[in-house]
Symmetry: D2
Subunit: 353 residues, 4 copies
Amino acid sequence: MRALRKTGPGPGAELVEIPVPMPGPNEVLVRVQAASICGTDLHIYEWNAWAARRIGDGRLPYTFGHEVAGRVVAVGDEVDHPLPGAFVAAETHLFCGHCGLCRTGKPHICQDMKILGVDVDGAFADYLVLPAHNAWVVDPRIPVDIASTMEPFGNAVHTVFPPGTDPEVATSVVAVLGCGPIGLFAIGVCRAAGARTVIAVEPNEFRLSLAKAMGADQLIDPSREDPVAAVLAATDGLGADVVLEMSGVPAVIEQGTRMLQHGGRLSLLGLPAGPVSLDLTDHVIFKEARIFGVTGRELFRSWQQTTTLLATGMVDVRPTITGQYPLERFEEAFDAVGSGRSAKVIFSIGNDE
Amino acid sequence: MRALRKTGPGPGAELVEIPVPMPGPNEVLVRVQAASICGTDLHIYEWNAWAARRIGDGRLPYTFGHEVAGRVVAVGDEVDHPLPGAFVAAETHLFCGHCGLCRTGKPHICQDMKILGVDVDGAFADYLVLPAHNAWVVDPRIPVDIASTMEPFGNAVHTVFPPGTDPEVATSVVAVLGCGPIGLFAIGVCRAAGARTVIAVEPNEFRLSLAKAMGADQLIDPSREDPVAAVLAATDGLGADVVLEMSGVPAVIEQGTRMLQHGGRLSLLGLPAGPVSLDLTDHVIFKEARIFGVTGRELFRSWQQTTTLLATGMVDVRPTITGQYPLERFEEAFDAVGSGRSAKVIFSIGNDE
Amino acid sequence: MRALRKTGPGPGAELVEIPVPMPGPNEVLVRVQAASICGTDLHIYEWNAWAARRIGDGRLPYTFGHEVAGRVVAVGDEVDHPLPGAFVAAETHLFCGHCGLCRTGKPHICQDMKILGVDVDGAFADYLVLPAHNAWVVDPRIPVDIASTMEPFGNAVHTVFPPGTDPEVATSVVAVLGCGPIGLFAIGVCRAAGARTVIAVEPNEFRLSLAKAMGADQLIDPSREDPVAAVLAATDGLGADVVLEMSGVPAVIEQGTRMLQHGGRLSLLGLPAGPVSLDLTDHVIFKEARIFGVTGRELFRSWQQTTTLLATGMVDVRPTITGQYPLERFEEAFDAVGSGRSAKVIFSIGNDE
Amino acid sequence: MRALRKTGPGPGAELVEIPVPMPGPNEVLVRVQAASICGTDLHIYEWNAWAARRIGDGRLPYTFGHEVAGRVVAVGDEVDHPLPGAFVAAETHLFCGHCGLCRTGKPHICQDMKILGVDVDGAFADYLVLPAHNAWVVDPRIPVDIASTMEPFGNAVHTVFPPGTDPEVATSVVAVLGCGPIGLFAIGVCRAAGARTVIAVEPNEFRLSLAKAMGADQLIDPSREDPVAAVLAATDGLGADVVLEMSGVPAVIEQGTRMLQHGGRLSLLGLPAGPVSLDLTDHVIFKEARIFGVTGRELFRSWQQTTTLLATGMVDVRPTITGQYPLERFEEAFDAVGSGRSAKVIFSIGNDE
């Protein structure tokens, strides 16, 4: 089968032929139909400092990619869910199942997590092996190409709806900082969940136009106006009830605390590369703000919610899909992802024969 | 009446005679019996940079002090709760009652808060005027001198029991960073609430011995061992479920994130003087940690809980009371507070005649 | 001034002239502009068994009515919010402000509650006296006549969004049992908050058509089909995540438990006149269902949420307003309310001169 | 091996020899050391109407019993947790792992639940087969005989600490209705978790004495005094914050609602045999009470909490263990359970050789 692989420690990747993998007793084999490109994949493709450190030479060569949907074509001996023929999307967090967090309903923060396409062979290939438990059967109302975006969409859902949220999004003012694909998805989710006002903050004009398309009420270009002042102006000086940080930029995270209402919530999904300096006294402690780290998806509550939002049409992610490529044109696809004039880019890999 | 006042911008205070204040229509006049000294009072006494900036010359002269209990001796025309004769402690956050937060059950994070003894005349005096709503009738099982500590005890209670807590303290491993009076109170509260293990971190040997007296299971002197390593060692490498940050020291806050279990909670009560640099990616986002700013007390849930804990004897705060002084010996009292060999120091001011 | 009063123990009411009341020090005087009719008012008008017992002869004569909006024309000496000129709607639960529940952020379940128009003179009159704290300043985007429905709309909001809700309404299947005005409002709120499917159950065909207009996805006439079977059929046999009981009919409440999903929530707002018999073992305990009693509105979170939903147009309540009458035509108005071909009926009483 | 089996539809059981079962690929074989008797087991032993209906002739003969601990002696091919040699207790709810509730962190309310010792062969035998996932490794500080009570103790823990609890147990007044083993355990758990007052209601004098031993502050014999009046008297007329219903008696459940404070929580664990009639208007809706159905244990949060409470000595269950028998003396053991002068009765079955 074809597989897009990192074959050496450096930029780029190679499309090579390798054997189709065999599923273990509790695994399924998936014929990949669509796989979308995450920012993480771009880091791996470019082999930046993070990728060199996180993955390392020892794993090479390996197949990357993790946002994926396809049809189950074979299952291990112990698998009775899902069965061959099921069309599934992949939960990419490969939790151990045995640690204290896995045992208490929080496998998404497993103490011993492995990541598909990072720690084990991934999705940019004709076939993929997955633990059966990580295969989510896709609602038939969700199109094949959209299905590969359920994984990052689930990130947005988990950011918007953490367990035990106060304040909740319904009737709240929400600021979304950073309008990459997950930020864009989050705008749609907040809109569907009855946010009062959704304010999008993003310096890239193209992405800001997508934020508009996804339902943002107010667009702020931080290269033109101070986003903290703009959010305060939009809220009678009070600040946003909920801030969803999707950029990972330290200065933006810091702005997130300053635009927050007393008692507000700042959810952090974007990953800063270095330390972040915050004024905790004035903007967290006296405000009694809550900062929530967010990673992955709640298993599988986020998938259920994602299914509802996408299958019913409450959120339409089509505006965020800015390119579809066959696997052979991977260089073009990664160029698009890195160009700043794209959001979600998808590989169309196979289909039902 | 006597009042301990800041009469000029600089260190020290003066005990002077001033007229007894008159309560307004919705206020009460309290004969002060006990008033305890907060770290904030020491800052004001010493007139450090924070005090000079926060209070400023314009307010001088004024009476400071805010942790206080006494008997209601007169009430305004519109007051029917409490009535003269009631023994009360003061909630020191003077909320506006009209802003969105006051109107929605969160007056402790009022948008327009004033603080007793900071923004208006305070408690180190024979008499005190309070909004009737801020006077909490003290359970008769709580002794007079202890009653003045209900306010800081309520801080500890609010830190331990935020609304919607997950993880909760019962059966959890809790680390308390900094064992000033509120940290010491928090140790007692966690013990009473069924914490599995309470780990106290404090460099001052005297305070560490008080932590032991309040029920800490494990004492860590960070000048002798790395507190992060020690907490991890005590938890099979997992980290604490709950960290209560009471020191306000930036480096300690940062350690708080590093000793936190996946899915853990870090509550911040101590006030750092400057920016705090955090590794959010590894210790907040990937851990899906929750950071809660904490200020004041929930009005008045924290007071109800405080009452229960102190009146039933579930927590005994006597070990934390390291000195009692008449108002005349204020210099001695402040020296004690600043000495490092004290915890809670109380002025015994008046009593029922 | 004119006032619609119960003057004797029996059906009917009299429109009489009485003096304009005087506000006390912490009260406001409101020039009534619109007052809508609640089911409770119909009970009082008809003087049914509940009214005879709850109100009793001793209170007569008195003015009834409580859903009301109007302009503040005078305020007591101690009032600085709101000021004369403000257009306000009335929170009708007159909480004591002093009991444990009032003191801990739950005044809507005050231990010593009085109800406007039941325990004290009410709203079907030219002028009304209210505690200043019970006057909610209306967002100018909400029209005058709609403003008087904010109080029952707030009931719907509080039913849909209880604190600490799990499951939440966003992405859930919700069944609304009974489509009187509050049920109809709840349908609109659920729709705005991102419910997956809203199922309305109501035997009255006219009201079922209003349910459709408010956004219900599925309409069930329980006189034609078994509502439990219908909800199960609509949910692959699983049941609804959330059931909002608005009818107060014992058999319907019991059906509510039977149509509930494992882990589901049944919120009870409708008031049954007698005991209700439930199969707790199979439909509450084994399902681990949660039953929430609901009364009034959260003060004033529900009012904030109501404001957002009505002022932004997220919910349009116009379809539910089926009649507007001057006070003189009160008999016609009450006939309409009792007719089964109405939802919300409003008295247009005064306006700005 | 020996197995205590129901061999026919009627009272009693037979101790017979049957082959040791073989674990499947994802199962473990456990050498049973201790198995305790649940009220359910007594129903099965007596073959009452519930047992005849729930289990039915079709399953006979089969082995009953489900509260059990023992050592893993063999594991299936796919099992790597736990390994042979581990000492484990059984989670007796055999969830499907595939339904919506299992997939979203709520397997304890699985749509397709099977129960150990009810739907499949159980624990009153020398050996037992369990899904590996249902085997909880016991903390070595918990003695063997106590380990078999972790399952019902976990019921008590889950009743006391539901997710998202408000009001919480710490500093609350709790009434426990019914002092069978789970009620007695709940008293100990509430005590450890910082309840203000624990009130035990139980007509059996022997059990009431055990309630005292487990830490109840107040004992109410409902055959001598009205428990509703007694709880109101103990709470200044307000009622209990939390009521834990462990009796399953309809009249007692109804009393539970009447003794509840406004905003209080009533958790239902006891299983009523028939319908329960409640005054929802006055005691649930106007009070804004919350009724929580409770079944089983949260998987596996309740087991973690149980481990902490038993391993640290925060709760000592020894007073509740009123008899230990070899399997041969099963008739004596069941007589003891049915006698009213017992609480938890344990079979000592095997031990390490």
